[in-house]
Amino acid sequence: MWKFTVRRMLIMIPQLILLSLLIFIMAQMMPGDALTGLIDPSVDPETIEQQREKLGLNEPWHVQYADWVSGAVQGDFGQSFRFKMPVTDLMMERMINTFWLSLVTLIITYIISIPLGITSGRYNDTWADQAITSYTYIGFATPLFIFALVMLWIFGFYFGWFPTGGSVKPGLEPGTFEYILSRFNHLLLPAISMSLIATVSTVQYLRNDIIDTKQKDFIITARSKGAPESRVYNRHILRNSLLPIAAFFGYELTGLIGGTVFVETIFSYPGMGQLFIESITLRDYSVVTATTLLFGVAAVLGTLISDIILSIVDPRIRIK
């Protein structure tokens, strides 16, 4: 298993290099550069040229790339030209916010999807299954940004049960219980909105896998041993069907990244997704590249986690 993990991590290296190259090239191809947005018509072109030279913007692309990567590896993504602060500092707090949002979303997703998937798969073609399946179809068909807006309007504005923006009530002392509660309260609505949509693919996946596993020969073997139905489900069907769900976990992470971009913007939740959209509209390129790179790394890590989980739970992979 160690061999597998090491090998799997080595595969990541070229993936990451390719990713960073792509992001860098795309950033280069965007019109203008870091200084474009700052140009004050009154500034002397000479000074700008000096500035460019100083920032290394006149170097050939591979030198710039090398600079950027070596900085990124050390946690230095340069300066944000809009916020006038290091990109790293800018992202730090937002990353923490996004992390909590994602975690709560994931937890809610699994809390909803596993029981629904199991019910739907075990009692397939009953009314319960049909209700759950209808929900998943609606979920598939509903765009997240519209659903999030509706949720925000209903529960945020109309009922006023949840705050409609920010990550914490201003003026609270960090570390206090109230502070934590307020943060939780702020991320709950975006997390629920995202989960309700994200959960449908897991429900469908689990349902189909259970229906599939139910018809396997070893289930007949289990029944012929005299195992009661509850045991057949818990010991034989679920264990085998949750396996692909575990493998799905990494892709769930990747999907979350896309989700946070919409949801954070709609709920004005100060996380990475919101920062990403903001910095695009403000042409804050060093921030755009840094966030894109981090999203990319998160996605690559997601699949790595999936593969490692799978290698732990599935003996057929573990041995090799």
Binding site: K3, V6, R7, L10
Partner: protein, 310 residues
């Protein structure tokens, strides 16, 4: 000169291992197999799963890359021909084991059977249709079947469709890989009879791959017995069944169920004897890796893999 000759055929598959996935070893699926088949004859390749019999058949068709050795068809070396020289391929066709999965369920019989025709011959649609109808009649299916789909046929009929496809280009050699293993006895009988019929009608040469010795005995003139990529014994059907020399062959022959219930005790006793001999004389028949030795000729009809006598 034999019609099809295989000389010291080797097919090795690499095993990837280690952190960088380099080739660390090879699976010697076929490891030095030689055989010769005369025109119009049936040659049986026998072995248990993993013995390399299917790989040998596929190598003849060019479906597996040959590591070493030669395949000579009609006096011509066809081992690694490429491009336009592949025309020999239409002379050698294959029938597959599973009549359920080897036919594309979404295609009509017309499309399935005409596929090789379209690949190798330039015919108009009318001509193709006519040829397919002729072929279907030849395999005993009604010409109207061309518009049907595979699921509308029984197992035996499906296997006939597979045969019709295989004989569409008037091949000289057919490699039949377990053609009846997935079929019920009565359907199996149908397909076997029919294969014999078209053999004499079209002067076909068969390589018949099977693990079922009953079927092999019924169909074949010559038999080669394979174990872990090598031959353990080779000879005429009579020689193999009436006078098996290698302990591996003896075990195989002893394992054939006897259809006379009165012979039960005798059969049991016989098997125990063979098993004892197998255990006692294992080292006389297999080298230190558990593989068979080189074949030694013991008569003009019979060779056995035994260590060289000093």
């Amino acid at each position: 000169m034999a019609f099809l000759e295989i000389k010291d055929l080797k097919v090795h598959f690499p095993i990837k291992g280690g952190i960088f996935g380099r080739t660390v070893d090879h699976i010697k699926a076929v490891d030095g197999v030689s055989l010769a088949v005369e025109k119009g004859m049936t040659y049986g390749l026998v072995g248990e799963s993993g013995s390399g019999k299917t790989t040998t058949g596929r190598a003849v068709l060019g479906l597996n890359k040959v590591t070493d050795g030669k395949i000579i068809y009609n006096g011509r070396d066809i081992t690694s021909l490429r491009g336009s020289k592949l025309d020999y391929r239409k002379d050698i066709q294959m029938i597959f084991q599973d009549p359920y999965s080897s036919l594309n369920p979404k295609k009509r019989v017309l499309d399935i059977v005409s596929e090789p025709l379209k690949n190798y011959e330039k015919l108009s649609r009318q001509e193709i249709k006519k040829r397919v109808q002729e072929l279907l009649e030849l395999v005993g299916l009604s010409p109207e079947s061309i518009v049907k789909y595979p699921h509308q046929f029984s197992g035996g009929q499906r296997q006939r469709i597979g045969v019709a496809r295989a004989i569409a280009l008037k091949p000289k050699i057919i490699i039949a890989d377990e053609p009846v293993s997935a079929l019920d006895v009565s359907v199996q009988a149908q397909v076997l009879n029919f294969m014999q019929d078209i053999q004499s009608e079209l002067d076909l040469t068969y390589i018949f791959i099977s693990h079922d010795l009953g079927v092999i005995k019924h169909m074949c003139d010559h038999i080669g017995i394979m174990y872990r990529g090598r031959y353990v014994e080779e000879g005429t059907t009579e020689a193999i069944f009436n006078d098996p020399q290698h302990i591996y062959t003896k075990r195989l022959v002893a394992a054939i169920p006897d259809i006379n219930p009165r012979n039960r005790e005798k059969q049991l006793h016989f098997r125990q004897e063979v098993e004892t001999e197998y255990e006692q004389s294992y080292n006389d028949y297999f080298d230190e890796d558990g593989l068979a030795f080189q074949l030694q000729t013991i008569s003009d009809k019979h060779s056995v893999a035994l260590p060289e006598r000093s």
